[in-house]
């Protein structure tokens, strides 16, 4: 009996990690690894590579009657254009708090959702908005202007026709 136990593993004196247990554990970890890899792959799908939203770049003709400090909002857009002595500029109308469309008024902008107020240059006056309304890129194109609602420019950037 003693010769037998020395010659190989037995139930009384097992090897530290039986081969079957090792293979079993290895296959479980391999399966878990494959599952993790597949999960990462599956999460990749819902994150769209191309966004379906319409182009943010558009051409606009300003009305001649636009007074200084009065905002002009092109139909279907959420950006306001202004014209004063120094030129034309555009300010985004999407509230920096939770994405509502702010209303352009003579004394600034007002958000209907949580009461944020912005000064005429877009900086926060009161309310929960964490930062100023961004200014948008405007380029002159003849008598028209091209606005890119996806490109932010430093506040104060104005262009002449």
């Amino acid at each position: 009996m003693s010769a037998e136990s020395q010659s190989g593993p037995s139930r009384l004196d097992p090897e530290p990690m039986p081969r079957r247990d090792f293979l079993g554990l290895a296959s479980i970890w391999a399966a878990l690894g494959a599952l993790a890899f597949a999960t990462i792959g599956m999460i990749r799908l819902p994150k769209a590579a191309v966004l379906s939203s319409p182009s943010k770049k558009f051409r606009v003709t300003l009305p001649d009657s636009l007074a200084a400090g009065q905002g002009f909002v092109p139909p279907g857009r959420s950006v306001a254009l202004f014209r004063d002595a120094e030129g034309v500029y555009a300010i985004s109308l999407i509230c920096t708090h939770l994405g509502c469309v702010v209303k352009s008024q003579a004394d600034g902008f007002e958000c209907p959702c949580h009461g944020s107020r912005f000064r005429p240059d877009g900086t926060v006056e009161k309310g929960p908005a964490p930062m100023a309304l961004p200014w948008r890129q405007v380029t002159a194109a003849g008598s028209d202007f091209i606005v890119d609602d996806a490109v932010a420019v430093p506040p104060g950037t104005k262009v002449r026709a």
Binding site: K47, A48, L51, S52, V101, P130
Partner: protein, 516 residues
Amino acid sequence: MSAPPSLSPLRTLVGNLAAAPRRILQAGFRTGLPRTDRTRSTFVFGNVFLHLQPVRTHRWSLRWTATMGLGIAATAAFLVTLVTGVLLMCYYKPYPDVAYTSIKDIHFVVPTGRFIRNIHRWAANVMVVTVLLHMARVFYTAAYRKPREFNWLIGLALLAVTLGLSFTGYLLPWDQLAYWAITIGANIAQSPREITDALSLTDSFDPGGLQRQLLLGSDVVGEEALIRFYVLHVMVLPLLLVILLAVHFWRIRKDGGLARPVDADARLGPPPPDTYPVFTEAPTRTYHLAAIVRGRTDAVSRGPENTVPSMPHLFYAELGILMVTVLVCLALAIVSDAPLKELADPNVPENPAKAPWYFLGLQELVSFSAFMGGIGIPAIVLIGLGLIPFLDREEAGTGLWFGGPGGRRLALQSAMVGTAAALAVEAIAIRFGWLREWFPQIPQLVITFVNPGTILAAMYGAFSIWLVRRHRSARAGAMGLFTCFLCGFVLLTIIGTYFRGPNWMFYWSPSEWPKH
């Protein structure tokens, strides 16, 4: 085995055919009609739906005040939404604008469509209310304690899924109310940017933007968002809810039934004469179970168990609650229509844009800081709730209303403190504004961390710590904290619902809202 030789094969066949209906029934219900205690027990054992429940129920659990039937009521409301929801899916089309007209069709054209939609909407509301009340019941009877900690966590997950179902369902009508509530909700998902922007990290590390993009599938609330919310609402979340619900029910049994005090038998007194306190006709083979039941078996050396057969006692009670819940949903659906505003217009926000009522407390917090109100404080509350059973390892008062040190008086005290603190903070913010109005140049990070919401949460936390020290008990602290948050939640919800008007301004009554 061969048929008796006198019968021809054809006759056997006809005989079998005649016996088929009876045999089909027998094959389905193997134990026969549940007429005796014994067949009732085997009936419960042998039925996949009934066996989630115990064969015998402790008399303590059947008392009206033990549970008030809230868990069953929530389940019943869920079943109602499930049935009515599938019916609504016959006509609903998840595509912008078309969705709106299909809801209009359901409301005005489809036979009973308006009624079914109303029931669906009201059952969803009843579900949210009963789930919250059920959680409060479990908390106040200290029923989350060992060995029921895990089921408390499952319950929290169920609460989250319930709110998720309501939120995703809110977008589907594609009206103004839906559109702007979801715009706000999606931007709350994006609000970690409040922190990353302040630290100018957003370009390289933007979890908020990723969350919003995964939710909406685009950078605006549009067709992708609608189909995603639809899939979540009719498939992913209900499936998740059913799975969690099965675990939740199963664990009730595995954790030894509903929590009851150690001296429940003495408190109950002797059973009324028409019940069967002793298992008189026990099934013959119970030793199989004895091998896997942990701990001491109750009946040994303790005399007759204080239990009654679940069938009929428990099942009739459950059926009664189910009927009452359905009745409440139907009654509400008759008296009040589900809302439907104008078609969604992405350029003109609804003013005021209000979320469903149970999110208005959160919306109130969000109007101080998007990140803290929408993600920070809810996460802290959820983590705090999850930790309760692991911090409170006491035993006094389990299964009793307001059990533990302090009792009813402490709950009342905490309710007053919680309401007063919330009222004070709100009053200051409404009357005097907040840091931005006082110091216009203040950095956003300061407001994110010091705003009425976080101050309120900190006050509640401090009160709770004081209670822990005063009563030398984690249960007392938990009781204070839970009661405070409950009162704060209710108060903020009331303010958000009744006292906030256009531009989220404070108004004493909607009649004072400016006309435009």
